[in-house]
């Protein structure tokens, strides 16, 4: 907390060198970095200070009116929070860390953003340039370490290079298939003076995010679509990234083709829509998995045929012709051989495709999905969401939250059974409403991500479903919630196990529960230590009441809900099985 005196002094300081942001006055590299970020429209930074980045943090005080810095309690937390901020706001996520351990603590967060194509700019500090390569104190080769998990990275050793490199970083992170970029700035470059001038980057010779539209391919796609009898759309994260939800809906409604979504494609199509086929993949819905192998045409939009979606590749959609609309050419024909590739942005392609496709309906084909839905409901969903007795089920909690919020909330998940239950049972109505770790499956993502999601979209209710295991991987971020009074709603789905791993031990390792049972602390007491109110929910009778309490509270709130200890997430495509071999029943 600042005293009034301090604030006054700061104000004075700020007015004294009131920055003409784009003048050509002499400023330090640290100044230049912050001004560059402001030029790029940044207003929020997540980070953690340390020796090498101190010149930058010092200057942050001069820009407090324009740049808000959120001090997390661990750099991994900063990275996940910044990612979630990007996912809900559509703006790139920005993250600061110091050299050495600060930078290496980011790696899980960077890798997570890389696999899920999130636009992010990571700024790490580096030891002074003369010490690089000497194993100096807190020197790590962060360029080398982060190279496999960044879209691009670069080291800056001269202050005068900072504006252009930052401009380039933003251009690369946010265009094409987005991804994290890391800029490593030496301490001497932060202190050195330069004359600041900023010009946004709009062009790089070696990098071309604007692909000319292949109209012939789009015409061919239209012909294939118009002649299909059992077509199926697979919508991925690319639909949300390119902002093509409206086009997807129009395309589906005009052609009458059912839409299945990947984990990260969830919320790109309303889950209550009559053409919604459900969620794909290992723990996805029964219908879209099973019927993938019945379709005669698959239209894959902004998705990458991840192994969790395809199951056994040798038995994946062999009968179907496949159209792949994808901005990243390296994803086309990588896992699945396709019949027609359209290498471009989803929105661009869909808007050109819509006028060329005929109006149609597929009554009996869509009915097959509804029949599968019914089967799944009877065999799985009913007992999972509306059990009459026994312990509380995860699906039951999520279903209630879905009802109580009317499907309008940003849902954040951790990883494991809690994640799959949230993805399966929340009925999403608005786009960009699921913040989850897809490609990496990073436990510990949920709590820090909920912070970033709330800051990125303060107007929306943010509810995080987190397992008792994953919660303890980044539990320190309760400190960040306390510090900034971030009104996130935390729901711990507490089954006393590393549930998803226990499920696999149950199903594939003869129920030998090796190191998956947890001895847990009292989470409500811990939350109380952080001045976060909470309730422990043990009985079904208290559940709804507690959830209402949580949702209507003004500040942060935590529920520790005791869940059926040995519940399994079903259906499941077992490892090595085909999508059409999806299991509905499992009796241990």
């Amino acid at each position: 907390m600042n005293t009034d005196l301090e604030t006054d002094m700061k104000k004075e300081k700020a007015t004294n060198n009131e920055p003409t942001l784009n003048g050509s006055e002499q400023v330090t590299g640290a100044d230049a970095l912050l001004r560059s970020l402001i030029e790029e429209g940044v207003d929020t930074i997540f980070g953690y200070p340390g020796g090498a980045i101190m010149p930058v943090y010092d200057k942050l005080l001069d820009y407090e009116d324009k740049l808000k810095h959120i001090l997390t309690r661990h750099e991994q937390g900063a990275a996940h929070a910044a990612q979630a901020y990007a996912m809900v706001s559509g703006k790139p996520g920005i993250c600061f860390a110091t050299s050495g351990p600060g930078a290496t603590n980011l790696i899980t967060g960077i890798a997570n953003a890389y696999l899920d194509s999130i636009p992010m700019v990571f700024i790490t500090a580096q030891v002074v340039s003369t010490l690089i390569g000497t194993d100096a104190f807190q020197e790590t080769d962060i360029l080398g370490v982060s190279m496999p998990v960044t879209k691009w990275n670069c080291q800056v050793k001269k202050a005068q290079d900072i504006p252009d490199i930052i401009a380039k970083a933003f251009y690369i992170a946010t265009t094409g298939r987005p991804g994290p970029v890391l800029i490593d700035i030496t301490k001497d470059a932060q202190n050195e003076k330069l004359s600041f001038k900023y010009k946004k980057c709009t062009y790089l010779r070696s990098y071309n995010p604007h692909i000319p539209l292949h109209t012939k391919a789009i015409e061919s796609a239209a012909i294939m679509i118009n002649h299909a009898e059992r077509p199926l759309i697979l919508a991925g994260h690319g639909v949300l990234i390119s902002g093509a939800e409206k086009e997807l809906r129009e395309f589906a409604e005009k052609t009458g083709i059912p839409v299945a979504v990947t984990l990260l494609g969830i919320s790109s199509f309303p889950s209550g829509h009559r053409l919604y086929a459900g969620f794909l993949g290992m723990h996805g819905n029964y219908g879209p998995n099973l019927l993938t192998n019945e379709a005669d045409l698959i239209i894959a939009i902004g998705m990458r045929f991840d192994d969790r979606v395809t199951g056994n590749l040798k038995k994946y959609a062999r009968q179907a012709r496949i159209i792949h609309i994808e901005i990243d050419e390296a994803e086309i024909n990588k896992n699945v051989q396709v019949d027609l590739e359209i290498h471009n942005d989803a929105k661009e392609v869909l808007s050109h495709l819509i006028p060329l496709v005929g109006k149609k309906t597929y009554e009996s084909w869509v009915r097959e999905f509804r029949i599968c839905d019914k089967t799944e409901f009877d065999k799985v969903i009913k007992s999972e969401t509306k059990p009459d007795s026994g312990d509380i089920k995860m699906g039951e909690v999520i279903n209630l939250v879905s009802e109580l919020t009317g499907g309008d909330a940003v849902i954040v998940t951790d990883v494991g059974q809690n994640q799959m239950a949230a993805a399966r049972y929340f009925r999403f109505t608005n786009p960009n409403s699921l913040v989850t770790s897809g490609g990496m499956g990073t436990m510990g993502f949920g709590l820090p991500a909920s912070i970033g999601a709330k800051i990125g979209n303060p107007g929306r209710q943010v509810v995080a479903f987190i397992g008792d295991g994953g919660f303890q991987m980044t539990i320190q971020e309760l400190g960040t919630i306390l510090h900034y009074r971030i009104p996130v709603k935390i729901i711990i789905l507490n089954n006393g196990y590393l549930g998803m791993v226990r499920q696999w031990q149950d199903m594939f390792f003869k129920k030998r529960y090796a190191s998956t049972e947890l001895v847990n602390p009292d989470f409500v007491t811990i939350a109380a230590g952080y001045k976060i109110p909470g309730i422990k929910v043990l009985e079904r009778a208290e559940l709804k009441k507690s959830l209402i309490e949580l949702l209507k509270s003004d500040g942060p709130y935590l529920l520790d809900i005791k869940i059926d200890k040995e519940g399994n997430v079903l259906p499941m495509i077992e490892p090595g099985a085909s999508v059409s071999e999806v299991t509905l029943n499992y009796k241990s």
């Binding site: 946010t174 709009t202 604007h210």
Partner: protein, 188 residues
Amino acid sequence: MKQEFTISLFSEDHIGILNQITIILTRRQINIESITASESAVKGVQLLTLVVKTTPDMVRKVAKQMEKLVDVLKVFVHSSDEIIYQEIALYKVTTKGLMSGNVIDHVVRTHHARILEVSPEYMIIEKTGHKSEIAELLDQLEPYGVLQFVRSGRVAITKQVKELNSYLKEMDEANRFKPEEIESYNKN
């Protein structure tokens, strides 16, 4: 079926490019048979020539992953008959061994090699050609005492008519496509 491919990769002169390329190959368990780095005919553009043994499907996949790298301009994959290529080798052989019986002239002539330096202790022989020819000469010299042997990576020139420059121009045009789009992205 695995076969030999020559990858010609043109890139900006960005530190770490080679590292990024080897990461892609390492992840796919592909060994680099040889590698050469040099400047290309276009100023400021670097050329890496890699020789790898893998399947046609895999080389296509890794080439696309390489081309996706921000600083890579263009990647060409060629089978050996689509390119003109050479490797160069140097052999250091004991003078005593070679002088005995006047083999030296014969060996050098039949292999289209040449002598670079002669000293009382050793001779340096140079040979340009394909890997197998270079190996053949090595076999021939072995009995006379080879002290050192080194072979370079491959240098290759493509037979195709379209040159990098015209690709660069095309990319330029496509790239200048819609700057206002970026503007609007950055705004919202």
